[in-house]
Amino acid sequence: MGDDLPSWIIPILNWMESTWVNDLALGPQWSWPIMETLHFTGMCLLFGPIIVMDLRLLGFDRIALPQAAVHKLIPLTLAGFVINLITGIIFLFGNPYRYAMNISFAIKFALIILAGVNAIYFWKKAIPVLERVGEHGDAPTSIKIVGLSSLLLWTGVLATGRLIPYLGTG
């Protein structure tokens, strides 16, 4: 297994397989389904607030819905992200060769990085602009693109994550 992988990654994958995290993921019979259920829970906690925040950024219901009110949802979406980061890392350690060879996982990983960069851009650049336009103001197009990108990137993360068992090898 792993013939197509670059040689430098093999020791890392072997190390991942030798850790206690691998035992945790594969040892107890119910580990994997419990982690999957938690991963779905995290997905819902992450995705619900993302929909609300991004739609508001795009101008949804801006007269009634203050910008600051939807930003209160950020801790919830971060909680969902942390749950999924932890369970996701456990999956990786549980079956490192499978994920290293899987095209759907590679795309998912790239999309998460892009979504992260997008979120940092939102935090550093968009929030000051939003503060200038006011609680019920309309965001400029450059900022709306951040909201649309976030919505599309996270939908892509969800879809490519679900397709891991069906696309590519492993």
């Binding site: 829970t41 929909i51 609300v52 009634a64 879809a159 994550g161």
Partner: protein, 159 residues
């Protein structure tokens, strides 16, 4: 069982079973619908339970229209997944518990929205703080959580 066997023999069922893309596409849409429906319903429930008080109920009512789009996506994608193995699913207690919880959750969300609509119509945007609606909000989270756990366990637990 006649109707169930018929469902399993439809062209849709065959497409999901045989086509390389049928099952993956449907299961992916099912996850997306889940994230939309449960994600937004949980937000409404948390709001009713006293969190995120600065988000007006009127905005949540509008957002919940999107939640119902998620529900429709899942009704359609779930229906196609069911059709592929209808005779198996219909006798699988894990699947039946999941379905009961999903429909209970949807009914509870609809009920909560109806109660909010009545309160909002009286011109009181913050009137929906009674114990009844809070119990419904709590049960919504429980029903969807249990539904999600059992849905995920369908491939793992013996039918």
């Amino acid at each position: 069982m006649g109707a169930i066997t018929w469902i399993e023999n439809t062209g849709l069922a065959e497409m999901v079973r045989i086509s390389a893309y049928g099952y993956p596409v449907m299961i992916t849409l099912h996850s997306l619908g889940l994230a939309i429906m449960v994600g937004l319903s949980v937000l409404l429930s948390l709001r009713v339970l006293g969190f995120f008080r600065t988000i007006p109920y009127s905005s949540l009512q509008r957002l919940l229209k999107i939640a119902w789009i998620g529900f429709i996506i899942n009704f359609a994608s779930g229906g196609s997944l069911f059709s592929a193995n209808a005779t198996g699913f219909i006798v699988d207690w894990v699947f039946l518990v999941k379905m009961a919880m999903v429909f209970l959750g949807a009914i509870l969300v609809g009920t909560m929205q109806g109660m909010l609509r009545t309160v909002l119509a009286t011109g009181n945007p913050e009137g929906a703080t009674g114990t009844g609606i809070k119990v419904i909000a709590g049960l919504t989270i429980v029903a969807f959580s249990v539904g999600m756990v059992f849905g995920r366990l369908v491939p793992y637990l013996p039918p």
